[in-house]
């Protein structure tokens, strides 16, 4: 009987080993796994406000790899940037879109990836309070409850806005909430303020603006598209094709002829209404906000975010930009598509380079 038991145990162990053995490496992947930090209202797999979301709506990558039989797997995470980091830490992501703070915090804890594209930049910032709030400016909110989605780029934007007004997180009670909950909390007056697009909320009589920052390159942040170093090492030619397709989508998203289509497309996620996109970007060219360049502004802004994350004690380890940004795929894509001069390059202060 004991022999029988040992035989059974050995069978189990063999089965486990078979399952654990990695598949043989191939010339091309069977699937490209793309992680997106965020989702549509109600947990729908949709994104908005950037050309990576547009690439999903337009099936840009699916079309690129259809002939090769490579599946493109998009995964949308309501847990935002931190959820993408959890996936990346467990080797479940090949490419990802990321806001600056989760990108930096992930890097600081050892996640290994290369930045291959800038995605979005600039745009307005609004501090919004419940409609009957007595606050006339952000100073009036001191000592009250603010909401942000901690660990995401929004937290860093909030910290910058506070610092520009001589305040810190310590001057407030800070709750962590996603955008859906922030809207609900403004309606129920559970929070006293948050950073969110205000127009739809104002039209519904829920909220009002306390502070408007139409354009400040020092407040708004840059977002990023990265590839895992493992995937890049195995399939550099696939990385190039992904970047080619995304640069093409970036150009489509930067074309003023597509402004209305783009905003309708982004509004499908339900997070931000069509009208909000129209108003938020009425004083911006699409080329400004949908810009894939890794120019001086991108680098300086990312470095600034690293410094701020350290100063606000959001990271415990140093992060260096050296060897982190890999521009060769972007440069090749721009050259092949004759787009070397399509987007303006910006200097470290967010001004167009002469």
């Amino acid at each position: 009987m004991k022999q029988h038991f040992l035989r059974t145990l050995a069978t189990f162990a063999l089965a486990a080993l078979t399952l654990a053995t990695p598949a043989h490496a191939e010339d091309k992947p069977t699937v490209i796994r793309i992680a997106y930090p965020g989702a549509g209202t109600g947990g729908r797999p949709l994104g908005d406000t950037n050309f990576i979301a547009s690439a999903n709506y337009l099936s840009a990558l699916e079309k690129e790899f259809k002939a090769d039989g490579i599946k493109v797997q998009w995964t949308f995470f309501p847990g935002a940037g931190p959820a993408v980091n959890e996936q990346a830490a467990n080797g479940l992501v090949d490419f990802a879109f990321h806001g600056d703070l989760p990108l930096i915090v992930g890097r600081s804890t050892g996640i290994s990836h290369h930045i291959i594209l800038g995605v979005s930049r600039f745009g307005p910032t609004y501090v919004v309070a419940p409609v009957d709030s007595q606050a006339k400016n952000i100073q009036d909110l001191k000592g009250k409850t603010l909401s942000t989605f901690k660990g995401t780029a929004n937290q860093l934007v909030l910290d910058r806005v506070l610092e520009a007004n001589g305040l810190t997180e310590k001057d407030f009670t800070i709750l962590t909430q996603n955008a859906d909950n922030q809207k609900a909390s403004l309606a129920t007056k559970t929070i006293d303020g948050t950073i969110i697009s205000p127009w739809d909320l104002e039209a519904r009589g829920i909220a009002k603006r306390v502070l408007t920052i139409p354009r400040d390159p020092k407040i708004s942040s840059v977002s990023t598209f990265w590839v895992s170093t493992d995937f890049e090492k195995k399939y550099p030619q696939i990385v190039q094709r992904v970047v080619n397709a995304l640069v093409k989508t970036a150009q489509w998203s930067a074309d003023e002829a597509n402004r209305d289509k783009l905003f309708h497309q982004w509004a499908q996620s339900g997070n931000t209404g069509y009208g909000d996109f129209v108003k938020n970007y009425q004083n911006y060219q699409l080329k400004e906000i949908n810009n894939p360049l890794l120019d001086d502004y991108y680098r300086a802004t990312l470095q600034k975010s690293v410094n701020e994350a350290k100063r606000y004690k959001l990271i415990r380890h140093d992060v260096s930009l050296d060897g982190w940004i890999e521009p060769k795929y972007l440069e090749t894509a721009l050259k092949e598509q004759h787009l070397e001069h399509y987007w303006d390059e910006y200097d470290a202060n967010g001004n167009i380079k002469k």
Binding site: M1, H4, F5, T8, L9, F12, A15, A16, A20, A39, G40, G43, R44, P45, L46, F76, F77, P78, G79, P82, A83, V84, N85, E86, Q87, A89, N90, L92, P102, V105, G106, S108, T109, N137, K150, G151, A164, T173, L175, T176, K208, R209, V210, L211, T212, I213, P214, R215, D216, I219, E256, A257, R259, D260, Y274, G275, V278, K279, Q282, N283
Partner: protein
């Protein structure tokens, strides 16, 4: 008032259209007149198209001041209001009709087709359906008269629970929560009847703000019937425990039975890694006082039971190899003289319990180890002999293929009923010796070696396969029914709602 060039152009186009419309009421037009009208209309349409195109392509990136305090109603000149541009009376009427229909449907369903409670309530349940194969034949759990069986179907577990908030503090999270869990239990001695016993029945209050912020320490008080905060195995939820059967010491000592009392639980100095929203409290603690006489009965003496537990978790980032490495120690003092039907639990009268445990869970693999020592020191329960010492050791190791245990995977956005399909293989070694001082001839020491596979294929459902080997130091003492070691194969679906 001087009109702008743009407005003058609009006026001219509008006047042309009006003029054209006005003439249509005169005498029947000739073919030539109709052609002219069509040409004029075409010209008007072309002009409108050009204006629209001009509006689309007009872009004016004007750098604005860095920070501007804004009055709520203030609106920059030239603001576009898409809502007022597109909505018509018909649109609004249509929307109103839809809204009225929706409101009616909601109210009708609310009145006729929805379960209602006075307070927010979550209803959950867990059911197990099992098939077991035993060699040699066993007879445990069967109603008399019976003969030993080699296989059989059973429903070993059926739970229904109700939980929610009696008071919800939206701002600071000082909630007053409740939980009631009813569990199916076979009658003892076994018969065709079964009981549905109260298992959990408690109130829980959080006196300090939690507010959903990961960095806030947790503290709560639980009053009522609940599991003892002792060790790992006792507190591990069915959905997390890889093994079908509980560790032997839970029944052997009586620690696995619920107790009625007051327990304070909390943690402090949480280490939060926001890269992955990983929260690891440096210290967790639980301290409480309970009757010690088991569930659903009054206290049977004046001696209360005191329980305490503390754990330490390494303060490392999510990506560290030492993530979720936790070391814990537990202590319980008090009489545990319990009856499970007519069967006495804790017949040796243990009244002091010590436990140490190690928990390590680094997806995709993990391991747990738990040591428990039970002693009869004071004969508080009035049974057994002082000086008796029992020990238990439980070691479990597991490996998972799939993303069942990753929060980000479980919560990903999908249109369909997605769940990360996962396979978990594990091995367990569980040894219980009720009295370590007895010789091999009298020893009731028993060891259960288990290998198994769990298949998670839907959100609340898993299939479990366990191969158990019961090994007795002296089978005649430890298992008088069969007087031999036992091999057992368990196949079980566990599903919940």
């Amino acid at each position: 008032m001087q009109l702008s060039k743009k407005h003058r152009k609009k006026l001219v186009v509008g006047a042309s259209l009006l003029a054209l419309a006005g003439t249509s009421h005169a005498a029947a037009p000739s073919t030539e007149e109709l052609e002219k009208k069509i040409e004029a209309l075409q010209a008007a349409v072309d002009s409108l198209k050009q204006q629209l195109q001009a509006q689309k392509t007009a872009t004016a990136p004007t750098p604005a001041p860095a920070v501007v305090a804004t009055a709520p109603a203030a609106s920059a000149e030239g603001d576009v209001d898409p809502a007022s541009q597109t909505a018509t009376r018909q649109d609004i009427d249509g929307l109103r009709a839809d809204l009225e229909n929706y409101k009616y449907q909601q109210q009708h369903d609310h009145d006729t087709a929805q379960a209602l409670t006075l307070r927010n309530t979550n209803i959950n349940g867990t059911i197990q359906t099992r098939y077991a194969v035993d060699t040699p034949a066993v007879s445990g759990g069967a109603a008399s008269p019976s003969s030993p069986r080699n296989s059989g179907f059973s429903i070993p577990l059926a739970l229904v629970s109700f939980s929610g908030s009696l008071y919800k503090d939206y701002k600071e999270g000082r909630n007053l929560d409740y939980r009631l869990q009813l569990g199916y239990a076979q009658s003892s001695p076994p018969s065709a009847n079964a009981y549905f016993n109260v298992q959990d029945a408690y109130l829980r209050y959080s006196p300090v703000p939690s507010g959903g912020d990961l960095e806030n320490p947790i503290f709560n008080l639980t009053l009522g019937q609940q599991l003892l905060p002792f060790g790992l195995e006792i507190q591990t939820d069915e959905s997390l425990r890889p093994v079908i059967n509980n560790a032997q010491f839970l029944n052997g000592t009586g620690l696995g039975f619920r107790q009625i009392g007051l327990v304070a639980r909390g943690d402090f100095s949480p280490n939060v890694d926001y890269s992955s929203n990983y929260r690891a409290p440096l210290f967790e603690y639980a301290i409480g006082v309970v009757n010690g006489s088991g569930p659903n009965v009054q206290d049977n003496n004046n001696n209360k039971g005191f329980v305490a537990r503390a754990t330490y978790t390494l303060p490392v980032d999510y990506t560290s190899w030492l993530r979720e490495l936790k070391i814990g120690a537990s202590y319980y003092q008090g009489g545990l003289s319990l009856l499970n039907g007519t069967t006495a639990v804790n017949p040796l009268g243990y009244d002091h319990f010590y436990g140490v445990d190690v928990y390590y869970n680094h997806f995709p693999f993990g391991a747990t180890y738990e040591y428990v020592q039970a002693r009869n020191k004071d004969a508080i329960s009035g049974v057994g002999t002082p000086g008796v010492k029992g020990t238990s050791q439980t070691l479990t190791a597991f490996y998972t293929w799939g993303e069942q245990f990753l929060n980000s995977s479980k919560s990903q956005a999908k249109y369909d009923d997605y769940w990360p399909k996962s396979y978990q293989a594990f091995a367990r070694w569980d040894q219980w010796n009720p009295n370590v001082d007895l010789s091999a001839a009298k020893s009731a020491k028993s060891t259960i070696a288990t290998v198994g596979l769990n298949v998670f294929f839907a959100q609340t459902t898993k299939f479990q396969l366990n191969l158990n080997r019961y090994l007795y130091e002296n089978a005649a003492v430890a298992n008088p029914a069969t007087k031999s070691d036992i091999s057992e194969l368990l196949a079980q679906f566990q599903f919940g709602f």
